[in-house]
């Protein structure tokens, strides 16, 4: 109870101080709106914010699914052939260290100027791809060497080795990769919308841009708070799913 109360009290104190400071110093609201103004903006535009949050969330989740399918397939192929791994690794590393915003224009062109939402999904998928790919690859290789020796001893076929040893061994690293990728997919979706977005893709980033262009700073904050809540909830959810699946894998 105390541990739940402590952060709530701190947040209340900070918000109270913020409110008082804004009033006492008469800070112009376009520079820093008081929390009461942000709450009012939120109340006024919550249906729109909710719809935008859903747009961002569904974009991120769709990107996650696409990234997961591609990353798992590639990791599997690469894990079966070390020559292929040597070939793919430098390309993967190069792509990974290239900033998302730098490839956004290209992806936008390829997705078609009329389909910014496709570009946003594509960019978010690129960001979500790497943690899943490296998690899957690490997992597929993280086989207990003694257990692998037993499979040798029992004369297991390559298919048996894959299905009964390597795939199940990969589960923990795979779950971890997906958890990290989920957070990155949301960030990716927002960043991509900033760079590639337009009226066609109305996620939370678009709400922020729109309010910013009109200097409606309270609305910027309201969208920001929505985004933060979305991120926290999604993270908590993924954490719980990961733990649940890991427990059933370990049999706890």
């Amino acid at each position: 109870m105390k541990r739940l109360l402590a952060p709530l009290i701190l947040i209340a104190v900070l918000l109270g101080g913020w409110e008082l400071a804004c009033r006492a110093l008469s800070v112009p609201p376009y520079l820093l709106p008081p929390p009461s103004a942000i709450a009012a903006a939120f109340v006024q535009s919550w249906p729109l914010l909710l719809a935008s949050a859903w747009a961002t969330l569904s974009t991120a989740l769709l990107a996650l699914v696409i990234a997961s399918v591609c990353a798992c397939a590639l990791a599997l192929a690469v894990s079966l052939n070390s020559l292929l791994e040597d070939a793919v690794r430098p390309i993967a590393v190069t792509l990974q260290v290239t900033p998302l915003v730098a490839i956004a224009p290209l992806v936008t062109i390829w997705a078609g100027i009329d389909h910014p939402e496709r570009a946003v999904i594509g960019l978010a998928a690129v960001v979500a791809f790497f943690p899943i790919f490296s998690g899957a690859l690490t997992g597929l290789k993280a086989v207990d060497p003694d257990l692998a020796r037993l499979f040798d001893l029992y004369g297991a076929t390559p298919l048996q080795r894959l299905v009964r040893l390597r795939l199940p061994s990969a589960v923990p690293a795979l779950l971890e990769g997906h958890k990290v990728a989920t957070g990155l997919a949301v960030i990716g979706a927002v960043v991509a919308e900033f760079v590639a977005g337009s009226g066609g893709a109305q996620g939370l980033a678009w709400r922020i841009l729109e309010a910013y262009n009109r200097l409606q700073t309270a609305k910027v904050f309201a969208a920001l708070v929505t985004l933060a809540v979305l991120g926290v909830v999604l993270h908590a959810l993924m954490e719980r799913i990961e733990r649940r699946l890991l427990d059933s894998w370990k049999g706890r």
């Binding site: 003694d146 037993l150 029992y154 040893l165 199940p168």
Partner: protein, 249 residues
């Protein structure tokens, strides 16, 4: 002379960092229990992997009369698949060799009952204590009815009471199923208790410093550890080990 179940002749193993083992000559008679004793890094585990056919020697020949399906290994860690129940773990070797799942599970249940895990068939490795997990590992090794059973310090991670109970269980099962056993350990008393023949190895590169025959039945009678014969054998092995280590130092 009975043909051996597995033998090493003039075997040497080189790793990148130099000679790890050999030259070593060792032959195992069917049903015999041999303990390999030596300091850490003397190549005991390498010798075991050679006998299992999991590794090839750099020089020399390894002859294995026991085929792949007739050899079992128990490692220092239980090495159970965490995602499988105890019975699925034990059934695994049989399933991999093509036995129907139903028959494999029936054999696994029987093997688990034999090692005293009849009440934990559905348990996952994470739910088993160290001793129970080791028993499950032993059941997995025995479920294929091997002619050659290789034990690589299987009790090293267990407490003294568990380790003694497990030693007696292994001997009882050995007496029933009669596999040839190679038991790697660095515990002299355990070696003398388990084996009919204790082979002492030198520090790396491991060679055979000598061997001592241990009298007595496979299943040790109560109080065997306090007998004169046991103490004499343990002292002889200790002396041999001390001399082998000294010479190398």
């Amino acid at each position: 002379m009975t043909p051996s179940i597995a033998s090493l002749s003039g075997v040497e193993v080189d790793y990148d960092r130099g000679r790890a083992l050999g030259p070593v000559d060792l032959a195992l008679a069917p049903g015999e229990i041999v303990a390999l004793v030596g300091p850490s890094g003397c190549g005991k585990s390498t010798a075991l992997r050679l006998l299992a056919g999991l590794e090839q020697p750099t020089r020399g020949t390894v002859v294995r009369a026991a085929g792949k399906g007739e050899t079992s290994v128990v490692f220092q860690a239980p090495t159970l698949a965490p995602w499988l129940s105890a019975r699925d773990n034990v059934a695994l070797p049989l399933e991999l060799s093509g036995l129907a799942k139903k028959d494999a599970l029936a054999a696994a249940d029987e093997a688990l009952r034999k090692v005293g895990l009849g009440a934990a068939l559905a348990a996952r490795p994470a739910q088993l204590s160290g001793g129970m997990a080791m028993r499950a590992s032993l059941a997995r090794a025995l479920v294929t009815r091997p002619r050659l059973l290789l034990l690589d310090e299987p009790f090293a991670a267990l407490d003294e009471i568990t380790r003694r109970a497990l030693a007696d269980d292994v001997l009882a099962l050995a007496d029933e199923l009669k596999p040839a056993i190679v038991f790697v350990t660095h515990n002299v008393e355990e070696a003398v208790y388990m084996a009919g023949r204790v082979v002492v190895m030198t520090p790396g590169p491991g060679r055979i410093a000598g061997e001592i025959a241990i009298p007595g039945p496979i299943v040790r009678p109560p109080g065997f550890r306090t007998t004169e014969a046991f103490r004499a054998a343990a002292e002889a092995v200790s002396n041999l080990l001390a001399r082998a280590t000294e010479r190398a130092a």
